[in-house]
C-alpha cells in the first residue's frame, strides 16, 4: 500500500496538484502518430488535403490541442468504503419472500452517486445496496457506452496474464476505465496489476504518449520503484523526463537523502540523476551503465 501520514515539511502533494500534473504531463510526451493511431472504427477511405506551409502548421497546432484533450489523465482515487447501512428491520416479514427486492430511484435529475438504491432482503431487513449492486442497477436503468451490466471475465486475475502477453495494456486500461468507477476496488486492482506487469518487463513505451502514463508514474513513484523507468528514459535519451521524474520523487518524498542534497545544492540535469542514483536506487549498476552509455553517445555526437 501507499505510505500514509503528513510529511514533516508540509501536506503531502496529491495527484491533482498543478505542479504534479505538470510534471506527469511533461513525462507523458505527445507522439501524434501514436495518439491519433487508427482506432478500430468503420473503414473510410483516407482524405487528402492540399495545404500551404502556414495551413499545415495551423493543422498541426489544432492536432496538438486535440491530442491534449485526449491525454487528460483519468483520476486516481482511494478505494471506496463499503456501504452497510440498515434503514429498517422488520423481522416479522421473514419467510414471506424467497428472493430479495432491489429498488432503484429513477429520478432523472439526481446524480448517480446520490441515487437511492435499497434492497429488501428475504429476512425483512431494508438496507442500502452495496457498491456492486449500485453499479449494476445504474447500468441497467441508465446504460453507459462501453459498460456491461456484469463485468467481463477479462478483468479477473487469471485472464489478465493473457492480455499482458499480447502487449495490450493500453486497450485493457481503456476498457477498465469504461467499465468501472475510478474508486472501485476492481479498477484499482486492474490498474495496479497492469503497472506491475509493465514494471516487471520494462514495457514503459507501451503507455508513453497515452493518458495512462501519468497514473503509472504516480504509482511507481509512490512505491519507490522508479529504477526501471529511469533506465528506460536514459536509454531513449529523454534526459528532461528523467529530471522531471526525480523532481516528482523529491516532491513526494522530501525526507530522503537525495532530496535534501538536491535542495541544498540546487542541482540540475545530469547531476541530479547522479545524486539520486547514489542514494535512492536499488539497481545502481544498471543506471550507471546507462548513464555512461548516454554520455559516450553525447560525446561522440558533439565530437563528430
Amino acid at each position: 500500500g501507499e505510505p500514509a501520514g503528513p510529511s514533516p515539511t508540509g501536506p503531502r502533494p496529491a495527484f491533482t496538484d498543478e505542479a504534479v500534473q505538470a510534471l506527469l504531463y511533461k513525462m507523458t510526451g505527445i507522439d501524434l502518430h501514436k495518439v491519433f493511431r487508427p482506432v478500430q472504427k468503420e473503414l473510410k477511405p483516407p482524405q487528402y488535403k492540399l495545404m500551404t506551409e502556414a495551413q499545415l502548421q495551423e493543422a498541426t497546432r489544432k492536432a496538438i490541442e486535440e491530442a491534449k484533450e485526449k491525454l487528460v489523465m483519468p483520476p486516481v482515487l482511494d478505494e471506496r468504503e463499503p456501504i452497510d447501512d440498515v434503514l429498517a428491520e422488520d423481522k416479522f416479514l421473514e419467510g414471506t419472500e424467497t428472493t430479495k427486492y432491489v429498488f432503484t430511484d429513477l429520478t432523472y435529475s439526481t446524480p448517480h452517486r446520490e441515487r437511492f438504491i435499497v434492497v429488501r432482503e428475504p429476512n425483512g431487513v431494508l438496507r442500502k445496496a452495496t457498491w456492486e449492486e449500485r453499479d449494476r442497477m445504474i447500468q441497467i436503468f441508465f446504460p453507459k457506452e462501453g459498460r456491461r451490466v456484469i463485468p467481463p471475465v477479462l478483468f479477473k486475475d487469471e485472464h489478465l496474464g493473457n492480455v499482458f502477453q499480447q502487449d495490450r495494456h493500453e486497450d485493457l486500461l481503456n476498457r477498465c476505465i469504461a467499465q468501472f468507477e475510478p474508486d472501485s476496488p476492481d479498477y484499482i486492482r486492474v490498474h495496479h496489476r497492469t503497472y506491475d506487469d509493465i514494471d516487471k518487463h520494462a514495457k514503459y513505451d507501451l503507455l508513453r504518449s497515452t493518458r495512462h502514463f501519468g497514473g503509472m508514474v504516480w504509482y511507481l513513484v509512490n512505491r519507490r520503484r522508479t529504477d526501471g523507468l529511469l533506465i528506460d528514459m536514459i536509454n531513449r535519451d529523454l534526459l528532461d523526463d528523467a529530471t522531471s521524474l526525480i523532481t516528482l520523487y523529491h516532491m513526494l518524498h522530501p525526507e530522503c537523502q537525495s532530496a535534501k542534497e538536491a535542495k541544498e545544492a540546487k542541482l540540475q540535469g545530469i547531476d541530479l540523476i547522479k545524486v539520486f542514483v547514489k542514494t535512492e536506487s536499488q539497481k545502481e549498476g544498471y543506471i550507471q551503465l546507462a548513464l555512461q552509455a548516454y554520455e559516450e553517445a553525447m560525446a561522440t555526437s558533439t565530437a563528430s
Binding site: 416479522f92 414471506t96 427486492y101 430511484d105 429513477l106 435529475s109 435499497v118 429488501r120
Partner: protein, 128 residues
C-alpha cells in the same frame, strides 16, 4: 383534436401495475392512469417497472421514479393494493398492514402444518 382524448366523468387517477411481457414471462410497469382505462391501455405516465422473476443474482429488480410518484400523489392519485404493498416494501410508504397480516397468517399456517406433521394424534395445535 385527437379522437383518443377521452374525458371521464367522475374518474380518478390511479397508480397501478400494467402487465406486459410474453407467455410465462410477466413484466409489470408501474403506471399512472385513469381509473376507467384498460389495465394495459393508454396511461398518463410510466413511473417505474417491476420484474417479478428473479435475475441471475437472485434479486427482483424494481425501478421507481420517486419524483414523479410524489407529483402524482400530490395531485391526488390513488394507489392500487399491490402498488401500496410494493412501495411499503421499498420503504417509500410505511409497510402495508396486509403485508404484516399476510406474514403472520403464513407463519401460523406453517406452525400448524409443522404440528400436524409431528403430532397427528393431537389434532388442532395452539393456533387461535
Amino acid at each position: 383534436g385527437s379522437c383518443l382524448l377521452k374525458g371521464y366523468h367522475g374518474g380518478h387517477v390511479v397508480i397501478r401495475f400494467a402487465l406486459g411481457g410474453c407467455a410465462n414471462r410477466p413484466f409489470f410497469r408501474i403506471v399512472a392512469a385513469h381509473n376507467k382505462r384498460a389495465r394495459d391501455g393508454k396511461y398518463l405516465e410510466q413511473l417505474g417497472c417491476l420484474d417479478p422473476l428473479p435475475n441471475s443474482h437472485g434479486e427482483k429488480v424494481a425501478g421507481l421514479n420517486l419524483e414523479r410518484l410524489r407529483y402524482w400523489l400530490g395531485c391526488g392519485a390513488q394507489l392500487s393494493r399491490p402498488a401500496e404493498k410494493l412501495l411499503g416494501l421499498a420503504g417509500f410508504l410505511p409497510l402495508h398492514p396486509m403485508t404484516v397480516t399476510g406474514a403472520e397468517r403464513l407463519r401460523q399456517r406453517r406452525r400448524r402444518e409443522g404440528q400436524v406433521g409431528t403430532a397427528p394424534v393431537e389434532g388442532q395445535g395452539t393456533a387461535p
